[in-house]
Symmetry: none
Subunit: 246 residues, 2 copies
């Protein structure tokens, strides 16, 4: 199979050395792009550049975004990494399973694969984790919570490269048109608005409730056409309610 | 099997940040000892200590040796890592093979396993490589020659821990309260009725449409509490619509 473009996304990294090291790793492992969500350090510092070595070019081209959703708006397959143990219901996977899934759900689309890593001190929020269809936990083999960010990146990229080297398990791979993070997000915002209007949700608890729906749909690897189906339902419900109110 | 003590040996490391990072990794991956052969940097520097984090204790206890042979004199199973491609006849292996070999050749002896890493710029000499029974090449999956020392250590230690097969995720999973077929079926019948009422579905196509929703939810392994959540939504929608019609 052809492997697609892959991008590494760092959410609010705070260490110059880490960002530089990750740029170098991206170069080592043939990652096409580094993206940064609200970096909390000086990515133009000498220290960062020194660590980047041959990845300097990738570092200098790294784009900045204000939210994770924006950073992955063009990506279809999104994987995140988690260190904390308190993710509630969000299912965690081993890296092999995740990269096997990457192969299985690969489609003809050319959108890049995104690999998302969180803050040095507290990783990704549950909301950010829910932007990914699959979440890698490195916990079981290491005391991940104190694993340095760039070392976590090294391990995940190594596993990713390795998965490309092995022959994919030849399951009948149907084309799998995964919904993009932004599509799903917009659809759920639509749904949230109508559920607030009809009083199913309340302002202060809607976020938690909606994240339950999102978790459910991410587990299912929801497709673009299914998102469209749900949007159709939401539109029709809105119409039915407004009609009554006129 | 019982796993033995494992030690990490760095030969002539020249980077303060690297030595500190490796100490931290040793702590992350439960390596008992860090050994240094003629370090070319200041291992007592603030920079080194800062990078060591929780591995500071291991760093402070790290012993120094003048040759590799001395550093591994008490070890029986020795593995080394190589980046260069010009090793002459010295055979290289993949990390999985090497750790499989570690298991197979394990004896009742209590000597530690040694994992040896070379200089940042030119790795280990052929003579040093020959001190090891097995040599791991990370070349095939990355441009190893420019892989940072501490990242190479991260990958090898991760593979080592993985070979020990600790705590698979599935065991730590809490029980998964899968919805019963009937629960899901009743819920979807409710939803179908309201979608027919509001004109989203038509009688002759509703079955096909609804089976799309069902497929989506089944792929997610929907739980009982999630079925209840959806029923709550359906109920509230019905209420909102009837309210308008009264």
């Amino acid at each position: 199979m052809n492997f697609k473009k892959a991008v590494v996304v760092l959410v609010e990294p705070s260490g110059n050395i880490n960002v530089g090291s990750v740029a170098r790793l991206c170069e080592n492992f043939e990652i096409e792009e580094l993206r940064l969500v609200s970096p909390k350090c000086d990515i133009k510092s000498l220290e960062t550049k020194k660590m980047a070595m041959k990845g300097l070019n990738l570092l200098e081209k790294a784009k900045e975004y204000s939210t994770l959703i924006e950073a992955i708006s063009d990506c279809r397959q999104v994987i995140a990494t988690a260190g904390r143990m308190d993710h509630g219901d969000i299912p965690l996977h081993q890296s092999e399973e995740v990269f096997e899934w990457i192969k299985k759900t690969s489609s003809d689309h050319n959108e890049p694969i995104a690999m998302v890593f969180g803050r040095e001190d507290r990783g990704l929020t549950n909301e950010e984790l829910l932007c990914a269809q699959r979440i890698i936990s490195l916990n079981q083999f290491s005391n991940y919570q104190s694993l340095n960010l760039s070392h976590a990146v090294a391990i995940v990229l190594y596993e990713y490269q390795k998965s490309k080297g092995l022959n994919p398990i030849s399951k009948s791979k149907t084309s799998f048109n995964l919904a993009k993070a932004e599509e799903l997000d917009n659809c759920l915002k639509d749904a949230e608005n109508i559920l607030l209007e009809i009083g199913f949700l309340m302002k202060h608890t809607s976020k938690a409730r909606m994240s339950k729906f999102k978790g459910l749909l991410q587990r299912a690897d929801i497709k673009s056409e299914e998102v469209a189906l749900i949007r159709g339902v939401v539109r029709q419900i809105r119409w039915a309610i407004n009609k009554g109110n006129i």
